[in-house]
Symmetry: D2
Subunit: 421 residues, 4 copies
């Protein structure tokens, strides 16, 4: 079980060691993929794997190696692999990333090697000031975010192939039933937001909130519970849905979580390890905010706010992170865990948990100066906060104050939910 | 100046008198319009005037007269004029409301008369319980909301006609320049939400918030300030915009507030009284949340939260409401007022003020039982709260705790902004 | 039975008498409609009735009264009521015609009266040269085309109203079963195109075609035959469809002709006289070219070319025209006729018959000079020729050389088919 | 100069030799492309190269090797690589072909090898009946059609990459100015359609046409002439355009042929050999039917009909075919030729020439029985006929009776035009 109070288990590593460790995990993730696989953009939200590989490298070249002598690898890359930094320059249109077959994957790998070599030299050198080190940390966390996207994007890509290819074989951990424990928290003033270690700007400033008393469920909502919702007509009647949610159900013809397939009267699910039967004790995932919210109302509960979740996380537990599952040869899919008595189980790793909080600035927040100021602030609109990390998140990437965010109809992340009262 | 502590200036009237007064104002509003005008749906958000006339009537027939004997006026109306109450039954598709030419306007007026007559009988009778009286009040406030929509919708309709017809002649009140006063408020626990008199469910429950200290501008942002923003390239550069906002600017080709027209190097604006020159001292209106937010950042300020606004409203003032302007023969357009020294001017009436708060449930909120539970709760997603009322709002309709809400790209309401720090 | 060799039964009338007769028929057609009905544009192809009323009037004002002194009725109308004449000036966007509520219907009627008065003066005067008289004839035929559109457009408008209003009551002529006669024509050189009397430019020049021998069916395809096609799975299997046609079937979910409604296991059809049971002996109508073509293949036949149809028309008959049905108090809907032995029945009036001919210029065709050159030529692309007229066509408007044309997915005209071999 | 009377220069080869020669040319075409290049679908009309490679192979496996023992290579391929044969089964949706990264390119090449091996065995064996040989010929011509598409599709793919990669270096043949010769043809009865050697079903049956006298230009329209059209405002004014064409100009913002780029006041063009200056003497290509038609009207001429073109082709010449240019190391781009005095130059090869003929069945045509009946007939709607072949066509693939066809807004083929009177 990951100790919540010690999220940064790697902080004794040097910056160079951390750099190399993070970069190496990208190699692991892209290992099972062919040049063809790395090309595909299956919807506008998805980027080709090769684009992620180049973009994360461009990030270090642009924001770190600018402090060092040496020419850029390829002038064109600044246009091709800039995601959304207007301060840096124009960007190649996002929905067309899948149309770019040159540079070749081989050349992108050379780009990675070359930047890795230059970064190693630079990080071993004398010019790494405190603020540059902070930018390197941002770059590493940025690459970890893209590692998660590589996994969720390639999952979507492969799901479009009628042969449903396996990304990587792996076993599924087994566990007993979920806990029916609810943890209670008293009303009072709480401090919210980042306080030590690395954090993104959107987790700051730490500030005070008055919070009324509340209860949080000891385990996330399971597939078994979701099947009850389906069988009770959850997707057939508008009763419990937000108006926009019900429109989404009808327009996108949702009748189960993304990747669920009905076969011979039972539910199968497409995972990164292929098509497998849905197991009732697993946390449900690949549901939208709309579905999470409707389920919560149907069950007579509600979603927690992001503040409640953060307060509750002091009792949180969880051990299904991408790097750990990978090392253990397990499938990158949220499975059951042995519940810890009295704890709030599977709160970290497993599935990102939708909260009812619209993604907004904390009081006193202002984006950092410079291009990196575009990292988070400009997306604070029409998105909802998710907390806790998932099976596609690295263990040292996430923390209780971490704020992930997606639009309310997004389903291709490992997104689930936990109930509150 | 409207006293904020006495928003319900009409509460000494009987329910029947209030009913008749509200219904009569609809007649005033529709008075200048031909049968042809009342047909048009100029975009999906807009409803034909005749639809508003019938729908508000259907509301009383469905939710009040069901408690009384007597047959419904026309069985078809329950399908044609139900807006979004799934609990009542299926609805005619909203974007097609402009295709329905029967019943005739004449018949819709008969419908209104007949329901008025039956309502008068009913309200004079013995069966008006407390809960029915509450539903009548909802019906009246509902009709007032639709009165505002009738005005903003017909404005949009007429703006599509290249001849730019006048809806109703009227003078524009003059005033001096805006105040540069800022009101300060101290940190502390504040009570937020409805506490007496009529209120919608979304204003409840009244609850405690911890609020850090803040300052609010003594006047709304003016057209003169907005012209500075335009001339500074506000619509040309992405710097201050939310990512979604900048996309909207480009896709919808915004370069000024809605209804502004450039003629011979000066700005004109289409109003309900026709095309007139923009006056720099007027509050700016018909701007989206995206524009309001970008302006605030550009000016080095920010939008207030809805909670800050509500706290600040105890010093608020304002006197431009629809019913008052109508009686006074003035144009239904936000003009300047004589600022009150030390007050937060034009906070009520004039323009709805965008806040930075996403529209969400208050802690402990749950929608009422029955069909009226669909009134507010199911829209709590991807919308932002506006406060204060506008020149299209009736004076006794609005109050400091009132929460209006629209999507962040909506511009056809009388929406402006006030800065905070 | 209309004599095909004498299509212009009115040619003994003076130009002024013809003008007044045609204009009066527009009054008859618009008689049953309210100001509200006249506003609606139910799809981009449909224009509001009031637009037709103004546009046909604008045509005379622009192309005839320009030869006379006197000011235009309203300067704005040249923009609002120009359909597609680039040579005249810019046009108000077609899909937004339904958004224009001013001028009022009353004012449009004044416009008609004023232009009628000026036209009467002008036609009685000395300045009507041969070429102006020709332009007047074009204007009259133009108005007759719009009379047909007024009927088909208002039918579509009313069909969008769930109460399915009746446009005008009327009886349905009865007849016996359709003829099983086939007329044969020998191979040889034939002359095709206009030769005497009024004709549109697209019917010229008259020219020679070599035609192989062919046979044409003695009656149009009936509703009874169409029901067989439906029951044989005609709309369920791609076998007999053009690729584009099959795409249309799936995207637009066609499973019967437009306006057919399944009720209690039998087919009903919405007509201008309301919803009535489909009668098997009636000619089928409101089918697209795609459907006509698929039916013909399914039945082992084919559609005739426009040249075959024109050659065959010398044996053609038919008596269901709009003006005749109107006078007789009959419904404007294709009904059965008493077949004439050995004739090609219901070839004129009843339904426009799709031919397999793409709408193209005749050899040597060039559009007339001036704005009227835009009348026909610029539409010669991706449309198919229909022949014969319909129940919405005036008797003196149509002739065997007449070429009507619509895109292959159009269904809102009275379009049917006749088989050939 | 290719002799028009001898189009099938390879007919002395055995069927096996022809099979191997055609299949080998696909290897040449795909040679310069990486696995990544072969993945891209840059618009719905374009298919990934790898899809073409597999589909052409599937064609032989499905229509020829079904006559032989042995199992199919992979059951999934029948779904993945069927283009549009409903009689064979369901097809993977065309616009999603670019999403399929498995099978790998390597595996598709194995598929080709395996089918080649089995085809060689089969063609060397005793079971090749006359009708099977005919199906093999269809398969070879089918692969040649896809070879042309591979070239035009990859050109479009590479043009989407801002680095504008070179597909294959090559020189550009030089020539003098175009001929100003016009060939005249007398009125009379002509035979049209296939009469000996291989031909597609849509070239039959051979039949008689009466043709009035006409003249055809001795050379195709050149880039120099097109620049005059541009500079005369051809793309700025609607005068000469079909209504649908003018809509396309505005919606798709055409201001020059596809692949033309304005750089420093001169025109460049993207070719398969990279970006090069436009040469005025080259035939213009990558223009739509709409542009070809507008140019012809602007120049006071017209496009020929397909029948005129076919009649005229007896005086036609041309020598720029894909296989010849490839062998000669020349760029696959239409360049100038030395005009032959009195001939109709560059009529074969160089550019496909738009005719004014809508693609339709010849009198008496009926599609063949079986799945191959879907090859041509079902596309006879809203397309226009092109004649003559292009630099992407193999020399032995095309002939004067050949009918190519594309929708009127298609531009990504090597499509140009020749004038007629």
């Amino acid at each position: 079980m990951a100790s919540i109070s010690d999220p940064l288990v790697t902080h004794e590593l040097s910056l160079l060691e951390r750099f190399q460790r993070v970069r190496r995990f990208t190699d692991l993730i892209t290992g099972p993929l062919s040049a063809e696989d790395c090309m595909v953009q299956s919807m506008p939200d998805v980027s080709p794997t090769r684009w992620h590989m180049a973009h994360t490298t461009w990030f270090f070249e642009t924001f770190i190696l600018c402090h060092e002598e040496g020419s850029v690898f390829d002038q064109e890359f600044n246009y091709l692999f800039n995601s959304y930094y207007n301060a840096i320059g124009k960007q190649f249109p996002r929905p067309q990333r899948g149309l770019i077959s040159r540079p070749s994957l081989e050349r992108i790998k050379e780009y990675r090697s070359e930047v890795d070599r230059r970064m190693a030299d630079f990080l071993a050198g004398p010019n790494v000031t405190q603020s540059i080190a902070q930018a390197v940390l941002i770059g590493l966390n940025h690459e970890q975010q893209h590692q998660e996207l590589m996994l969720t994007d390639i999952k979507h890509v492969l799901s479009c192939n009628p042969t449903l290819p396996v990304y990587r074989e792996g076993s599924f951990a087994s566990g007993v039933t979920s806990s029916d424990h609810w943890s209670e928290f008293e009303e009072g003033m709480y401090e919210i937001g980042a306080f030590e270690g690395f954090a993104f700007d959107n987790e700051s400033p730490r500030h005070r909130r008055f919070q009324e008393s509340f209860r949080v469920a000891g385990s996330p909502v399971t597939c078994g519970q979701w099947i009850e919702f389906i069988e009770a007509g959850g997707y057939q009647r508008p009763n419990h849905w937000l108006a926009m949610g019900w429109t989404a159900v009808q327009e996108q013809q949702w009748d189960a979580p993304l990747y669920w397939v009905r076969q011979n009267d039972s539910w199968m699910v497409f995972t990164l390890a292929g098509l497998v039967p849905v197991r009732p004790e697993w946390p449900v995932c690949h549901v939208s905010y709309f579905e999470a919210d409707a389920f919560a109302r149907w069950s007579g509960s509600r979603l927690p706010t992001e503040f409640e979740w953060e307060v509750a996380s002091r009792e949180g537990a969880g051990n299904q992170f991408a790097d750990q599952l990978w090392s253990a040869g397990q499938a990158l899919h949220p499975a059951a865990e042995q519940p810890t008595r009295g704890a709030i189980n599977q709160m970290m790793g497993s599935v990102w948990e939708w909260t009812s909080s619209s993604y907004a600035a904390y009081p006193g927040y202002s984006p950092p100066a410079g291009a990196l100021g575009e990292y988070n602030g400009k997306f604070m609109c029409n998105q909802y906060v998710l907390k806790g990390g998932s099976v596609a998140t690295s263990r040292d990437h996430v923390r209780p104050t971490y704020r992930n965010f997606f639009p309310p109809d997004a389903r291709w992340q490992f997104s689930g939910l936990r109930l509150a009262h």
